[in-house]
Symmetry: C2
Subunit: 277 residues, 2 copies
């Protein structure tokens, strides 16, 4: 599909991509925040997860995903994947000729503003934590906040299995939270698009372990706010009368796709196409 | 690398592949059983896991892996991946001009022979269980044994996280075993190459839940026996004086690769090359 002429850019859809379906939590937040914006979402379900892969591989995959979306004429790309935001955002911004927004800067900013003197604990995939991206993003807005990270590789499979409550997720979440809280974290950033489905459990366990209120920062909502501000600043907000569309592209249609996708999106999944990458 | 002339086939290496590193448990069993055989192992670590993907995608990936090994002049291919063995073995046998052995037939045969009148419970990935491949393979050797399956998607990430003992794996294993044991399973097949690292825990929990001895069938060992018999029958056993080689090929080198690989292999990982697929 050719890129529409620049005069019609505000009516063009937002492009959103993630390694799999977790990024649909960001789509959900975007649709809550900006119901008028059409969205094309690409989930690279044939190659999920990215979180355990090398930087070179993540960059290669991310460029492939971004190309699919630019070919669809999107007005901006939201990288709804913490791993890609952590290791490939700079390269995407250099390589692409349109705005690219990630999930880490908004989440880090929200955490630093909420608790500028506190220790901020970040839960994420191995790739996100190893990158140190949250620490860099927090340092850009606060010189006092300290960031400590904890890789939590089991949380994604727990969410995908639908085990978001009960003993197994509770004990796994505890095991990941303990080192963060023991080091004094009073804010916990959900540094992976799957984690909003564990939000209540994480908050409950964190407060039980710490014996005091713990603030949970959900980067999906922070990102939706950042995208809304960005479009406003650029005069690129959609002005439409007809209802906004949501198109889902996936690179594989695994068993149980609709159930998992609906769980992340918070509504039934309607328009899905499978593409090759 | 060209395929060597047929006169030298017995000296050619065995080719083994898996979606990731779990298949190294099969390599370990092969090396224990046949120390004289050289092995080329390919782990498709850039596209792991296969267990949640569609049949079409698994077939495409498996053919790509097999091609790499045939280009290395292997004398036979061992598919050290239950998902590929379940959904793509027939196609590999049709497409390839050399013997292809899977992990499901040997495991199913060992289970059926050990307990011909019993109910056989199989733990595996979603793809393996949905395929019904174990039930078909058992039916080929026993008309009396009954097979029931349980998808256990969390066990692979637990093993990769190194959580093979403690409350989280114990409770997850229990949750997956309960429906099998409640329906009367007295044999449990470890239907995924990652599960041998959870063998002790699975055996302990199964016996605690059932209140009686439960037989655990490890398809890695059953496969090594089947490969040894096959080479013997064909006169294709390696007759070598120099120590057998083990070459590892991977499509991605994720963080912690050496630790995880050594855990599966039971020895330090020495010769590793990264290839593109």
């Amino acid at each position: 599909m050719p890129i529409p002429p620049s005069g019609s850019r505000s009516g063009a859809p937002l492009g959103v991509f993630d390694s799999g379906l977790g990024g649909l939590t960001v789509v959900r937040a975007l649709r809550d925040r900006m119901p008028g914006e059409s969205i094309v979402y690409l989930g690279d379900t044939a190659r999920v997860p990215y979180g355990t892969r090398s930087k070179e591989t993540v960059v290669k995959y991310a460029l492939g995903c971004a190309k699919v979306l630019t070919n669809r004429g999107v007005k901006a790309i939201v990288v709804a994947c913490n791993t890609v935001s952590a290791v490939a955002l700079d390269i995407l911004r250099i390589e692409l000729d349109l705005p690219v927004l990630g999930v880490i800067e908004p989440g880090a900013r929200a955490a630093a503003l909420a608790a500028p003197d506190d220790i901020i604990g970040v839960l994420g995939t191995a790739g996100t934590i190893a990158s140190g991206a949250y620490a860099r993003a927090v340092a850009a807005v606060s010189t006092r906040a300290e960031v400590i990270g904890q890789a939590a590789p089991l949380l994604v499979p727990l969410v995908e299995e639908g085990w978001t409550d009960g003993d197994v997720p509770r004990l796994a979440v505890r095991r990941y939270l303990e080192p963060l809280l023991a080091r004094g974290a009073r804010v916990i950033v959900l540094g992976c698009t799957h984690y909003p489905l564990l939000r209540d459990l994480i908050e409950r366990e964190a407060e039980a372990l710490a014996g005091q209120p713990i603030r949970i920062v959900d980067s999906a909502h922070a990102t939706a706010d950042a995208v809304a501000d960005f479009l406003q600043d650029r005069g690129a907000v959609a002005r439409r009368i007809e209802p906004a569309q949501l198109d889902l592209l996936v690179t594989d249609l695994p068993k149980g796709f609709s159930d998992v996708a609906s769980r992340f999106l918070g509504e039934a999944v309607l328009r899905v196409s499978q593409i090759d990458l």
